[in-house]
Symmetry: C2
Subunit: 112 residues, 2 copies
């Protein structure tokens, strides 16, 4: 059973999500297409527009997110999950549900 965590694609994919915002952004897209600005409101602040764009671009380049810019004035850009991205909704939902349920306990432990 040695090295059962070593398989490479899986690990690299976990690393893709291993930053401060990827999971949160994907959760924000899980209910349907969202505009750039609305995504910031949805997340509830704390993320800068620059970092949001960077995060979306990386997720896009990995085939999880689509970007659609409407030729209008003012500009309107909508982000959405790809079919592949949709398959991530369930795992992320499980994770965020855990976080909401046990978040208090984790923070309490850290406070000691």
């Amino acid at each position: 059973m040695e090295g059962f965590l070593a398989d490479c694609p899986g690990r690299l994919t976990v690393e893709l999500l291993a930053d401060k915002w990827s999971v949160v952004v994907l959760a924000g897209l899980s209910r349907g297409p969202v505009r750039h600005g609305d995504l910031i409101d949805l997340i509830g602040g704390g993320i800068s527009r620059k970092v949001l764009t960077q995060t979306l671009r990386r997720l896009q380049s990995h085939g999880l997110v689509t970007r659609r810019a409407h030729a209008e004035a003012p500009p309107r850009v909508e982000y959405a999950l790809t079919p592949l991205g949709v398959t991530l909704v369930e795992p992320i939902h499980v994770l965020t549900t855990w976080a909401r349920t046990h978040g208090e306990a984790v923070l309490d432990a850290a406070a000691e």
Copy 2:
């Protein structure tokens, strides 16, 4: 529905796992107590002893992992999940299963 991702304990808890190794280390502990060195083998290399210790310490300080040092020579230290940590096994299993299943597709998309 604005700000449905803003609840604080949940986000901080997600951030706890938002680094390169936390998820992998927890997965390594999910089958039972493991020694420091065995954990490195289990992970399959790539993690230094320093970083492994740092990661374990942080997880320990958040109540997810226990550390038990046996007074022997040579030293033997076993890490295990706390009851709280055990509740994380399922979410992590879901995530890693997804990563193994869709990792190829994600990397293929990134390669273009």
